[in-house]
């Protein structure tokens, strides 16, 4: 294969397109079957069975739902701003998928003698001689998650309905408040790893030294991050914009058929993305037993961890009642923000004295 495009061999582009396709299809399927899994799991937790009539064990339920929404009538309010109205679901959905570009879902595996890092983003560094990861991965993730808020604001505003506007404002205020806490909660992780690159963060957790249990500071950071991301994707117990305003006065009131489906897909896609980010930062990414001997196990470990976190989110949804809006804001600004700031100070001080982890193996 001597064909070179822009100085890079052809196989590089083939690998990248293949990874993009696989990641995209994986996220789409996960999102579709997450709706099914949620209904079944929450059903079992409520001593009942979920859908079981469409297809064997109800497995065709997401497809039935999708078809139903596809055939519904498309209603656009006459006074709504058409361009923004049609753009909003896209702006809500696309950042969730785009964030997957930086997340490493596996170790570098060998295919046909070539080293393929299982991460979509990467550039070929001629000096080093191999494909190198983007060294500001986490910054990219934070930036993309902030974009999701635009979709909600746009949806509420473009609907030209007072209730939609208020619902959209509430939801976006909630998302912004918890993004702060989430962003600050990740900082102890950088202080330990001294790099923003996601590959470096995973390498620092190699050998089952995951941040969630290896250091008291990152343990607290992990807990706070998980709760903050639950609030950011509007999952129970923080799903006030979605539930009180369920289909009546909420940012997606005026949406019908596929656009409505896209908003709800965006919620689950965000959940998948945020679980993937948490897995990468705190649960060791693709790390697991025997991964250095058999690199092909790494994507399986990654998927298992992401699915576990999603199960945890559904378990929490089945158990806890909803927060009222002012309690939610109080939690975000008066509890989480001071705690994360204090955590950063504690990590810095502890690091200065060389004590980062329980085993004290990290130096300053």
């Amino acid at each position: 294969m001597g064909i070179e495009i822009l100085g890079l061999p052809l196989y590089y582009y083939i690998a990248m397109v293949a990874k993009v396709l696989i990641a995209f299809v994986f996220v789409l399927l996960t999102v579709a079957y997450a709706t099914y899994a949620e209904r079944k799991i929450i059903g079992w937790m409520q001593v009942r069975i979920g859908p079981n009539r469409t297809g064997p064990m109800g497995l065709l339920q997401p497809i039935a739902d999708g078809l139903k929404l596809f055939f519904k009538e498309e209603i656009i309010p006459s006074e709504a701003n058409k361009f923004a109205f049609l753009l909003a679901p896209l702006v809500a959905l696309i950042p969730a998928f785009i964030t997957f570009a930086v997340i490493p879902f596996g170790d570098t595996i060998k295919i046909f003698g070539y080293d393929v890092p299982l991460q979509i983003v990467g550039y070929y560094d001629a000096g080093v001689g191999k494909v190198v990861d983007m060294n500001v991965g986490v910054l990219y993730v934070l930036a993309m998650s902030s974009l999701g808020v635009y979709g909600i604001v746009l949806a509420g505003w473009a609907s030209n309905s007072k209730y939609s506007l208020i619902g959209g404002l509430r939801s976006s205020a909630q998302m912004i408040s918890y993004e702060l806490a989430a962003g600050l909660a990740i900082i102890p992780v950088f202080m330990l790893v001294e790099s923003l690159s996601l590959q470096e963060i995973i390498k620092a957790q190699a050998g089952m030294k995951w941040f969630i249990w290896n250091s008291p500071m990152t343990f607290v950071a992990g807990m706070i991050f998980y709760v903050a991301t639950l609030a950011e994707v509007n999952r129970t117990p923080f799903d006030l914009p979605e539930a009180e305003t369920e289909l009546v006065s909420g940012f997606c009131t005026e949406y019908s058929s596929m656009k409505y489906a896209m908003f709800f897909m965006a919620e689950y896609a965000n959940m998948v993305t945020v679980s993937a980010v948490m897995v990468t930062l705190f649960l060791g990414g693709w790390d697991g037993p025997f991964v250095s001997a058999i690199p092909w196990l790494s994507p399986l470990y990654f998927i298992a961890k992401v699915y576990f976190l999603m199960f945890l989110a559904m378990w929490i949804r089945a158990t806890l009642p909803r927060y009222r809006y002012d309690q939610l804001m109080h939690l975000g600004w008066k509890v989480m923000l001071p705690t994360t700031l204090a955590l950063i100070v504690v990590t810095a001080v502890a690091g200065h004295f060389g004590f980062y982890t329980f085993s004290g193996l990290f130096g300053n």
């Binding site: 799991i41 079992w44 001593v47 009942r48 378990w315």
Partner: protein, 135 residues
């Protein structure tokens, strides 16, 4: 100072325990629910000596809260009072059972049949022939 985490953990343990219990769902058309003995379902006019016991005393339409019973008296061959027309409109009936309690001759009872769906509004008005109990 009350700990916010322990109640959440306890709650989550309970919900996880529920996953392993047998679900209470009834697969409806294949499995039917078992109704109680005194369940108030569709009415039935009791029959004795080959005619309905109803004497058209008009107590049941009087007590009915929903005014769904229509009775018209008639005189039979033995010059006894009987119900020539007895109709209950199931769309208005609230299945309270007052009519059964009010009947002085124990001519009315309620069976366990609750599957009363129909396609046309007229079919919901149960006439005397449809209300006679099945022997």
């Amino acid at each position: 100072m009350p700990n916010p985490f322990t109640p959440i953990m306890q709650g989550m343990k309970i919900t996880l325990g529920h996953v392993f219990k047998k679900p209470v769902t009834l697969m409806y058309p294949d499995e039917r629910p078992k109704v109680a003995e005194r369940f108030r379902g569709l009415h039935a006019l009791k029959v004795s000596h080959n005619k309905a016991k109803c004497v058209a005393c008009y107590l049941c339409p009087t007590v009915c809260p929903a005014k769904c019973i229509t009775v018209e008296a008639g005189e039979d061959t033995n010059h006894d009072k009987f119900a020539a027309k007895y109709e209950i409109d199931m769309l208005r009936c609230i299945f309270c059972g007052y009519c059964v309690e009010a009947c002085p001759v124990d001519a009315l009872k309620m069976t366990g049949e609750f599957e009363l769906a129909n396609y046309r509004r007229e079919d919901f008005v149960f006439t005397k022939e449809r209300l006679l109990e099945k022997k």
